[in-house]
């Protein structure tokens, strides 16, 4: 084995040829250098963000005491969590409807639930602005978290079609005979869906839910058009910080957000891996 590793790369082992290795290395540097420097400078002991002046955790303290930033952060996590729950349910129902039934207007329904994936964010953003500004004005003075309703609805609308895509892909591998067996053994149709189909699509529900959470946490453009002065989310808050005052506090906040995303993804991959290992 060791001999094989030392040998000249085989004809198809492109990944072991140095020009390609160099290229891949350069791409990785291009992608990671800016992010790495962002993290490093969140520990910089200087108001100006460009020269290294020594290590400090002060910016994380500043961030922790910045109540506007913490509020925005709480809002973002709340929105993402509620949006995730709704998106999983709506996405699974959409996928099952399209996979299981033939009905008049199916093409139309399919198109309507695919469109949010392809419509430019800005178009959806202005549609939400007009809808919640004029058609169904969302009251601005509701108690938390109901004042976030408009943003949550917008996020569910662009997230659940993605969940539907993930679940549909999983449904394609479902063995219909399993469901028929359940029906033969006396289960009602809904009961069969619930007991036989649901366990099969669970990995897709988990990764779809995670996708919905991340999409919601990441969204800036659509939220930017839906949010009011009292309903600021984390990306919207960072946006105004970047526009008006660039301090290492932004770096610290960004680092925390990156860590959360990475942790969530790792958890999701682990859960999914375990689920897949369990007899599928």
């Amino acid at each position: 084995m060791a001999k094989a590793l030392d040998a000249k790369p085989g004809p198809l082992e492109y990944s072991r040829r140095w020009p390609l290795r160099l290229w891949v290395g350069a791409v990785i540097l291009f992608l990671y250098l800016p992010l790495a420097s962002l993290v490093v400078f969140s520990f910089n002991d200087s108001r100006r963000t460009i020269r290294w002046e020594g290590f400090t955790l002060d910016w994380y303290g500043t961030m922790w005491n910045d109540s506007a930033l913490i509020d925005a952060f709480t809002n973002s996590l709340t929105i993402a969590f509620i949006s995730m729950l709704f998106s999983v349910v709506l996405g699974a129902l959409t996928a099952i409807a399209l996979w299981r039934f033939r009905f008049p207007g199916k093409g139309l329904f399919d198109g309507a639930v695919t469109l949010p994936i392809v419509v430019p964010e800005i178009c959806m953003g202005v549609a939400m602005l007009v809808f919640f500004g004029q058609i169904v004005p969302w009251p601005r003075d509701l108690v938390w978290p109901f004042d976030l309703g408009a943003i949550i609805i917008a996020h569910i609308t662009f997230s659940f079609p993605f969940v539907a895509v993930v679940v549909r892909a999983r449904l394609a591998s479902f063995n219909r005979e399993m469901e028929e067996a359940a029906r033969d053994l006396g289960a009602s149709e809904l009961r069969a869906l619930w007991d036989v189909l649901l366990p099969h699509v669970r990995p897709a529900l988990i990764s779809g839910g995670l996708l919905a959470f991340t999409l919601s946490l990441d969204d800036f453009v659509i939220t930017f058009f839906t949010s009011g002065p009292n309903t600021v989310t984390f990306p919207v808050k960072i946006y105004s910080m970047v526009r008006f005052s660039v301090t290492p506090e932004v770096n610290a906040a960004s680092t925390v957000l990156m860590l959360i995303t990475i942790a969530l993804t790792a958890i999701g991959m682990k859960l999914q891996g375990r689920d897949l290992a369990q007899g599928h």
Binding site: V24, L90, G91, R100, A112, V118, I238
Partner: protein, 293 residues
């Protein structure tokens, strides 16, 4: 019709309604209706600050063809096109390396592009701003060899770099899935018959993977065309793309009907690109099935 619903007639209709009602209602109420309102507004004119009368006028669409706005549309198409071209050049070798890597290497290379992709768009853009600032590292590096400093941030160059940075995964993932499905014996045959690696890539791999490559190009071009944040934060006053103009009509200029018309022009361009991709995919599927026969 009823037999088409499914094999078992009893309860089928009830469970169908149980499954479809919620998503159909949701998508109608919170997506179809809002977009229809924007569409209707694009044929209207402003009355008050946010009041719009839908009069059926086409004047908003006529205004879209004003040279000022045509130029912005052209610029957006050029930005998106350039971004896609650069992404393709950078991403193709990466996808190739991924295709022929070991299983573990594949996962690592995949994670390599997915981690930045999962990172918040705003965070990534902010990170780029720091790097490209006049006092940033790139200019530090230039300074070491006695060049610069160059004004990079708030230029069209910065916008392209930013768009490439953000859209690289959009091209690498579909490229990888195309290359991975390719019949390797064809590449081996080409190499055995004496073609070099470069010749093999251009004469064998690219022609075979062409439908997938075109599809990947569309998947990168479409989101790049509608970008808002990148030109807004990295660009200068002359790097506006369509989305920035739309935003201005809705948030500052308060000309909703014109903004609505611009939104729908962007939407039509997007749908056109999607349609081209669908036609391309269908043609590719047909040639493939003919090849099998």
């Amino acid at each position: 019709m009823n037999s088409a619903w499914n094999n078992s007639a009893s309860g089928s209709r009830a469970s169908f309604l149980a499954v479809i009602t919620a998503p159909a209602a949701w998508i109608t109420l919170f997506f179809v209706i809002p977009l229809s309102v924007i569409w209707a507004y694009s044929f209207g004119r402003t009355l008050g600050l946010t009041e719009v009368a839908v009069t059926g006028t086409l004047s908003n669409y006529v205004r879209v063809f004003d040279p000022v706005y045509l130029l912005i549309f052209a610029k957006s198409l050029v930005f998106a096109g350039l971004t896609t071209a650069v992404c393709l050049v950078i991403g193709f070798p990466y996808a190739l390396a991924m295709t022929f890597a070991s299983d573990r290497g594949k996962i690592l290379l995949l994670l390599g592009i997915m981690l930045p992709f999962w990172t918040n768009l705003l965070v990534r853009t902010y990170a780029l701003m720091a790097v490209m600032r006049t006092e940033g590292y790139i200019n530090d590096a230039f300074g070491l060899v006695g060049l610069g400093p160059f004004e990079m941030l708030h230029t069209n160059f910065a916008v392209i770099v930013g768009l490439v940075y953000v859209h690289l995964p959009f091209i690498i993932l579909p490229l990888y899935s195309t290359l991975d499905r390719m019949d390797r014996s064809l590449i081996e045959a080409s190499l055995d018959l004496g073609a070099g690696h470069i010749a093999t890539i251009f004469k064998v791999i690219i022609p075979i993977a062409k439908p997938g490559i075109l599809s990947a190009i569309m998947l990168t071009f479409i989101p790049a065309l509608g970008s808002y944040l990148t030109p807004d934060l990295l660009g200068g006053p002359d790097s506006q793309m369509i989305a920035s103009v739309i935003e201005r009509q809705f948030k500052r200029a308060n000309d909703w009907p014109f903004g609505a018309a611009l939104s729908f022009m962007l939407m039509y361009l997007t749908l056109l690109a999607m349609g081209l991709r669908a036609i391309q995919d269908r043609r590719a599927a047909r040639t493939r099935s003919q090849g099998d026969a």
